[in-house]
Amino acid sequence: MNNKKEAAVPDPNKGMTIIVKTITRLTVGLILLYGIYILSHGHVSPGGGFAGGVIVALSFIHIMLAFGKDVALKKLSMRAASFFESLGALLFLLIAVIGFTGGSFFLNFFADKGEPFKLFSAGIIPLCNIAISLKVGAGLFSIFVILVMLKFTVDGKKGN
């Protein structure tokens, strides 16, 4: 795949049929958006970091299934996925450690914790959700890529 705009000019030899590719093009953005919605509303409705992260990862896996792995890896390379995975974990740990400033590990340190059913409330919980979704999304995507590519280095899959 060496064409720049791979989504606009699909290579007919790679991936699935034109029907699948067209549907994927239409839906993949919505899936990504839905994932972001789930993760950002984790504190006011069911869902949260893990579920949102899984849906975000699924949108990339969706591209991979329809267009082949080259296109998907161009959108999110393995290096970037691995970077985001570590970054998510570190961010989560950092949020937990900042709790020490208030006196306790994992303390919800915002003075004003907001009120129920408001998006900008709940202190550190939305931030934690974002960190978890980074970790889960990148981690799940890289697990999938590693298992697909058959050329893997044995990697630590952490239960977080």
Binding site: S45, F50, I143, I146, L147, L150, V154, D155, K157, G159
Partner: protein, 112 residues
Amino acid sequence: MLLYFLCLVLFSIGIFCILRKRNLIKIIIGIIIAEYAVHLFFALVGYRAEGRSPIFTPSENIFNMVDPLPQALVLTAIVIGLAVTAMMVAIAIRIYDKYGTFDITKIRKLHG
């Protein structure tokens, strides 16, 4: 009571699968089945007759809700299960890479 019994049956199927099957992938499936039986049992422990889901809404007050803690814990356990399953599949594929078979009776370099 029937539900708990079915849970036990599911668990037994999983354990049977682990003990009796010769194929690596079937062993992995057995572990997943047994794991899900335990998760199901955990979720059932938190059940309450006529209970509803423990989601707080602005419009109404909830009186009889099921225990939310097991659900949160089951979610964690599922995540751990995901990590373990990914690890198992990765190792199984690599074993297939080296030995060219999934049959455990043929994978026998270690003994003693």
